[in-house]
Every structure is written in structure tokens, then in C-alpha cells.
């Protein structure tokens, strides 16, 4: 599917839901779970606690919003880093001489063969679980996705008249790349970064789920793991974080699909 398959209303719906997620995480109470006020444990969802309370009586919605903020922060840093690296490598490979292309693509293949999640575990073990550490690992190992897409796109752009004209007019390689090719790549880059963003959300949650997340921050993965231990008496403390991560990663995938302009 691509941009043409999506009606205006469904695009607006995706944008609105994403905006709600971002708003929630901006308005989330500062700090981690320990910063939340305690209350009556295992309260059903009600007007006072829209998503119920957990085993220590902390508000489910507040915890969920905090987790959303963590996801958003990790994914944003990782995506920006991957985008910068991937675009640079992809542009150099796609527009540069053949030997540069060969070399860069072999490097890309090697990086792509590293097991992100296991390296993230190693970093968590060596340096302690931290938001920045995880974001760096994700950004530094996931850029090949973007580099490959940018390379293919810029290779086809290179043959287009306006780029050839820019080169013929004496445009330096860096100017042609930055002023003529890069703007054309923006939709592709946006869509490709959606893949990295969604992957980062899932990786952060997976690491927190197994207990290797940032101990100072709330994470959806951590909420899901904790909630599942008393799922038989408080389904809400497991179900809502689970739903949140499905909806969030689904929305990111949809957004990536919508921005994908390739026919």
C-alpha cells in the first residue's frame, strides 16, 4: 500500500492518535514509577483512576504516560541518529563513485548483521541500563535500513534530468546532494525512519520487560511484566500497557506507510 490508498480521514485519524500519544507523554508526571503517589491497590478502572491502579495503588494512566515518554525519548534519539548516519552513508553510496558505493555497502552489511538486542543487553550489563545507552546502541546499529533505502532512491534520482542539469551546471557533489537530491528524499526518509522508530519502541520495551531497562524510568515493557504477575486479579494493569504498545507501534507503522510515496 502507499499514500494513494489512504483517505484523508484515515490519515487525520492516525495523525490525531499519534498526537494524543505525544501529548500524554509530554503531560506525564516527571520521574519514574517511584515518583507516583501511592494509594489503594488494585482499584478497578473508574473516574478517579481511568486505567485503575497497580499493586501499590499507583495510577495506571500516569504510569502509562510515563512509559510513553520513555519510549518516545529512546525512539526519537535512536531514529535521529540512525537517520543522520543512514542518510549520509546512503547519499555517499548512491551518488559517489563505484568503489565508495561497494565499500560503504559492505560496511552496511556488516553492521546490519550485528544482533542489536544482544548488544543492547551487553551494554546494559557493562554500563548499567540507561536510556541514552540504549538509544545509542539502537541508533548505531539500525542505520543500515535507512542507508539502503536512501542509496537506492538517490541512485535513481541521479539519472533524473534536474540532477544531471545541476551537475552539468557545475554544482559540486555536496551541493547537488544537499540541495537537489536530499529534498526529494524526504518522504522516503520519513517513511524509513518509521521502521527504525517502531523497532526502537519494541526494543526498549523488550529490554525493560526482561529487567534490563533504565531503573530510574517507567517503561511499558516493565509495566507489562509487572502487570502480568497479577493478571488474574487486576487485568487492567497488564492489558492497558499491552494495548498501548500495540497501538503505538501499529500507529507508527501506519504513519510510515502513509508517508511512503513510492508507487
Amino acid at each position: 500500500m502507499n499514500a494513494r490508498n489512504w483517505s484523508l480521514s484515515s490519515r487525520l485519524a492516525v495523525a490525531a492518535l499519534l498526537a494524543i500519544f505525544v501529548m500524554c507523554s509530554i503531560l506525564a508526571p516527571p520521574g519514574g514509577l517511584t515518583a507516583l503517589p501511592l494509594g489503594a491497590p488494585f482499584e478497578r478502572p473508574s473516574l478517579a483512576h481511568l486505567l485503575g491502579t497497580d499493586d501499590l495503588g499507583r495510577d495506571g494512566l500516569a504510569a502509562l504516560a510515563q512509559g510513553g515518554r520513555t519510549s518516545l525519548q529512546v525512539a526519537s534519539i535512536a531514529t535521529l541518529l540512525a537517520l543522520a548516519l543512514g542518510t549520509f552513508v546512503g547519499l555517499c553510496a548512491g551518488l559517489g563513485p563505484r568503489w565508495l558505493d561497494e565499500t560503504l555497502m559492505r560496511i552496511t552489511d556488516v553492521v546490519a548483521s550485528l544482533l542489536t538486542l544482544l548488544i543492547a543487553i551487553l551494554v546494559a550489563a557493562l554500563f548499567g541500563g540507561s536510556l541514552i545507552g540504549l538509544a545509542l546502541v539502537l541508533g548505531l546499529t539500525r542505520w543500515p535500513v535507512i542507508a539502503r533505502i536512501v542509496r537506492v532512491e538517490s541512485m535513481s534520482l541521479r539519472e533524473r534530468e534536474f540532477v544531471r542539469a545541476a551537475i552539468a551546471l557545475g554544482g559540486t557533489p555536496s551541493r547537488v546532494a544537499m540541495r537537489h537530491v536530499l529534498p526529494q528524499l524526504l518522504p522516503t526518509m520519513l517513511s524509513a525512519s518509521g521502521i527504525v522508530f517502531g523497532g526502537a519502541i519494541l526494543a526498549e520495551a523488550a529490554l525493560a520487560f526482561v529487567g534490563l531497562g533504565d531503573p530510574a524510568l517507567t517503561s511499558w515493557g516493565q509495566l507489562i511484566a509487572a502487570g502480568f504477575t497479577f493478571v488474574d486479579r487486576a487485568w487492567w494493569s497488564w492489558a492497558f500497557p499491552s494495548a498501548a504498545i500495540i497501538i503505538a507501534s501499529g500507529l507508527v507503522a501506519l504513519a510510515a506507510d502513509i508517508t511512503d510515496a513510492t508507487p
Binding site: 500500500m1 559492505r106 552489511d109 556488516v110 553492521v111 548483521s113 550485528l114 544482533l115 542489536t116 538486542l117 544482544l118 548488544i119 543487553i121 551487553l122 551494554v123 546494559a124 550489563a125 557493562l126 554500563f127 517502531g198 519494541l202 526494543a203 520495551a205 523488550a206 520487560f209 526482561v210 529487567g211 534490563l212 515493557g221 507489562i224 511484566a225 502480568f228 493478571v231 488474574d232 497488564w238 499491552s242 504498545i245 500495540i246 497501538i247 507501534s249 501499529g250 507503522a253 501506519l254
Partner: protein
């Protein structure tokens, strides 16, 4: 030529993976002595590590020594388990492979069948299955595992919640043991395969749809073959090779997935060993697992690529 290049690439990739772990261990607070001996090692242990690994020597010498130790299969020593890391990993291998291999087969075969089923006859059903697949794809394995446990273990009570065997059970015959093993692995395999099966299905759908537009497929249709026959007998075999290669490329996701799945289901596999070792700051074990897992994935991918070239010589010709 292609074979040599592919193997050389695999060797370089393994070397990079080993070097990355080396670099990380040397960048870590406390450096490699703490990384190898563990934060909670007794003072004597740390000195022993320094001495036995020769960590008082210059960095390039240490690095070469590390690489040559790896090449000889020496992954270091786990002070937590008081065992060599290599034997720890080997001991856990059957459980991890017992989950991964069935999950890969299930995801591969199931994904192809599902993808074929979702090919269009009219537009609406395709969109429905497509949307369903996309929805399932957003379901992370740790949520899927929770749902499966809820349904099959807690509500229906037909499958065990976790573990690999029932410690309360009476001694069993080998046949019964086999059945118990299968019952314990059913949910982990399903949870691991579920996320990947959708990926394979979507991939199959795209690839086969693409093959169906090729002249040979049009010719087969014009000859009078049914749509079903054209798809299964003509388009699918041609689409299968890239699907196989991409399944190999997804292997890393399976490895990452087993880490989560083994933790949820409390299975004594390599993934759970990595997680518990990381939490216990048992660094040699984590480093060993990262190196072994990266090497295994790279090796399998190399084998898949070489096999693909054997089956379709055009691949080798195009790359060489």
C-alpha cells in the same frame, strides 16, 4: 568466486562483532578487569583475571590475544557459574534450538501459506487479511506470549504456564518425557513464530504478486492454467528463493525473540542465560553469548546465500 567472497564477508562480519564486544568491554567503567571478573569478584579474583588474561600488557597485544582465544573456542570463564562460558552455552543450546527451529519452520511455512491465501481474488478480502496481518505484526512477542498463556494455560488449562518440565511429576518413560517437552514448548514456539509469521506472509504476498505480473505467468494463464495453479506451481517457486534469503536475514529477530520468550516462560535456554547473566553482571557469559550468537547468525546467513546461489546460478553471476 561468489562462495569465497561470501565466506570472506562472513569472516569479517564475525571479526567485527568480536571487536565490538572487545571495544565495549574496554570502554566500560572499571574496564576489562571488572568486565571479565565481575563487579562483585573478590580482590583475589580480579588479580587472577588481570594475570591470567595478561591485562597488564599493551592494548593491541590484549586484543590479538582475545581474538586468538575466540578463534580457538575459548570464550572465557564465568565466575558466577564457576564454569567455562563455552560449556555453559553448549549446555543451554538444546532448549534454545528446540524453540527456534520449530518457530522458524512454523513462521516460514505458515507465512507462505498465509501469504498465498491473502493474495487478491477481489479487493476487499485481500485488504481485510492484509489489515489483519499488519495488525498482528504490531503485536510484540512479549504481549503475544501473555495472551497465549492467558488463553491456553489459565482459561483452558491445557498447556503448562512455564518451565521445561514438571518437577512434581513422577518419573517418566522417554515417550512421556517427549510429550511433556512438546507440551512445554508449544506456547513459546507459537509466541515466537506469531510475530514473524506475519512478516513472512506479507513478504510472500508481495513477491508472488510481483511474479504474477511477469510475462511467463501471464503466458501460463493464457495457456489456460487456473489462477490457483499459476500461483502455486509457477509463481511461488520463483518467489521462494528471495523469501528464503529474507527469512535468513530475520534470524537475528528470532534470536532477540528467544531472549524475551525464554524469560517469560522460564526456559533454561541461551536467551535467558544472557538476561540473567546481564542482571548478575556476569560479563564473560554475556560477551560469550553475544559473540556466539552473532557468529551463528552470520554463518547461517552465509549458508543460506550459498544454497540460494546453488539453486539459482543467476544470483552468483549478478554479484560476482
Amino acid at each position: 568466486m561468489f562462495l569465497l567472497r561470501r565466506l570472506a564477508f562472513a569472516a569479517i562480519a564475525v571479526w567485527v562483532a568480536a571487536s565490538v564486544t572487545f571495544l565495549l568491554a574496554h570502554l566500560a567503567p572499571g574496564g576489562p578487569v571488572v568486565a571479565l571478573g565481575g563487579e562483585h569478584g573478590a580482590p583475589g579474583q580480579l588479580e587472577e583475571v588481570t594475570r591470567s588474561y595478561g591485562l597488564d600488557r599493551p592494548l593491541p597485544v590484549i586484543y590479538l590475544d582475545y581474538i586468538s582465544r575466540l578463534a580457538r573456542g575459548d570464550l572465557g570463564f564465568s565466575y558466577r557459574a564457576q564454569l567455562p562460558v563455552a560449556s555453559l552455552i553448549l549446555e543451554r543450546m538444546p532448549v534454545t534450538l528446540g524453540i527456534m527451529i520449530p518457530a522458524i519452520l512454523l513462521a516460514g511455512c505458515g507465512g507462505v501459506v498465509l501469504g498465498m491465501a491473502s493474495l487478491p481474488t477481489t479487493t476487499r478480502p485481500r485488504r481485510l487479511i492484509g489489515a489483519g496481518l499488519a495488525g498482528l505484526h504490531a503485536l510484540p512477542s512479549f504481549v503475544a506470549a501473555g495472551v497465549l498463556v492467558l488463553v491456553f494455560s489459565l482459561w483452558l488449562g491445557v498447556l503448562p504456564v512455564q518451565g521445561i518440565s514438571d518437577p512434581r511429576g513422577a518419573p517418566m518413560t522417554p515417550g512421556q518425557e517427549m510429550i511433556a517437552w512438546l507440551r512445554h514448548l508449544a506456547l513459546p514456539v507459537a509466541a515466537l513464530a506469531l510475530h514473524q509469521i506475519t512478516f513472512m506472509a506479507l513478504l510472500t504476498r508481495v513477491r508472488v504478486a510481483e511474479e504474477m505480473t511477469r510475462p511467463y505467468a501471464v503466458a501460463v494463464r493464457a495457456k489456460g492454467a487456473s489462477l490457483r495453479r499459476t500461483r502455486w506451481r509457477h509463481a511461488l517457486p520463483n518467489a521462494l528463493l528471495p523469501i528464503l534469503t529474507l527469512l535468513g536475514a530475520r534470524l537475528g529477530a528470532f534470536v532477540g525473540g528467544t531472549m524475551v520468550i525464554e524469560t517469560i516462560f522460564a526456559l533454561p535456554g541461551i536467551g535467558r542465560l544472557a538476561v540473567t547473566s546481564a542482571i548478575a553482571r556476569d560479563h564473560p557469559t554475556v560477551i560469550g553469548i553475544v559473540v556466539v550468537a552473532c557468529a551463528a547468525v552470520i554463518l547461517v546467513n552465509a549458508i543460506v546465500d550459498v544454497l540460494a546461489m546453488r539453486l539459482d546460478p543467476r544470483i552468483g553471476a549478478a554479484r560476482a
